[in-house]
């Protein structure tokens, strides 16, 4: 089980590195799906099967499909890849990468030196306990997240609305 954790953690890290370095966005989204699946395995090993199922269904299923739909609507061509290659030069990524590594090194230092003796035995927390907590002590937060989703729907509809066309598309003048 411990070996499974390390293997899936390795897969998650490698595929996430591939996500942020690919030039073709569809390729990087496929790597993102792999990363989410590996993280779902990690969740399962950590004793959270309900969260693993949610990770696959919502992240790898819904969110990535939504991004792919938008990319299909944008109708990106081959020159987008060329432009990405021009944008991602070493002069651009070296500085932020080094600074982020410094922050990560600090985080590792805090984690290693802190008093952290984890309980070795992982206990399963099944979906029944999660549901009891969700609709028991966290009921107010559930309603608030319902309002957040409603605001998200209304905001996405309002922002994504296109202006109505007055003339027929064959009659309007071509302007570019």
């Amino acid at each position: 089980m411990q070996l499974t954790f390390y293997i899936s953690a390795f897969v998650a890290i490698i595929s996430t590195i591939m996500v942020i370095t690919r030039f073709n966005i569809i390729h990087s989204l496929l790597y993102l799906v792999v990363s989410f699946l590996a993280l779902a395995t990690v969740f399962f090993i950590l004793g959270a099967p309900f969260a693993a199922a949610l990770e696959i269904i919502i992240y790898a299923g819904a969110i990535v499909v939504l991004i792919i739909f938008v990319i299909m609507m944008l109708n990106l061509k081959g020159e987008a890849i060329e432009q990405e290659k021009q944008w991602l030069t070493p002069a651009v990524w070296v500085g932020p990468a080094i600074l982020s590594f410094i922050l990560f090194a600090e985080l590792v230092y805090v984690l290693v030196t802190g008093s952290n003796n984890g309980s070795p035995v992982v206990q399963q927390v099944d979906s029944k306990a999660v549901g009891k907590a969700l609709y028991g002590q966290y009921i107010l937060a559930v309603e608030l997240s319902g309002m957040l989703l409603m605001a998200g729907i209304v905001g996405a509809y309002h922002l994504g609305r296109q202006k109505k066309k007055v003339t027929h598309r064959f009659l309007e003048q071509v302007e570019e």
């Binding site: 996430t16 990087s28 969260a51 939504l66 984890g118 035995v121 997240s145 989703l149 996405a156 309002h158």
Partner: protein
């Protein structure tokens, strides 16, 4: 039973968060920036799961569900904004969207 060190789970969350941060910083395409923000949110959820696993409580997974909800709302609004930016500016360059007036 299985044994997974809490520290290693938190280290994985830290590495993924750092990769997402690098992605936000080095990319100019807005879609890549949105995807990197998703990676960062996901790694925060992983940290909550690790904490919930350490104390064998359901609260970690509850927090993960809230993060999931927030990420879904965020990605829908963000994608609508991306569509609007592409419609108005004809590009996905985040540097092109530096004016308030479209």
């Amino acid at each position: 039973m299985n044994e997974v060190q809490t520290m290693h789970g938190l280290l994985l969350a830290g590495i993924l968060f750092m990769l997402g941060l690098i992605g936000v910083l080095i990319r100019r395409n807005i879609i890549y920036m949105l995807v990197s923000v998703e990676i960062m949110l996901n790694s925060a959820g992983l940290a909550f799961i690790v904490g919930g696993s350490k104390w064998a409580q359901a609260d970690g997974q509850v927090m993960f569900i809230f993060i999931l909800t927030m990420a879904a709302a965020e990605v829908s609004v963000g994608l609508a904004l991306i569509l609007q930016i592409h419609h108005q500016l004809k590009t996905l360059d985040s540097d092109a969207a530096n004016e308030m007036k479209g």
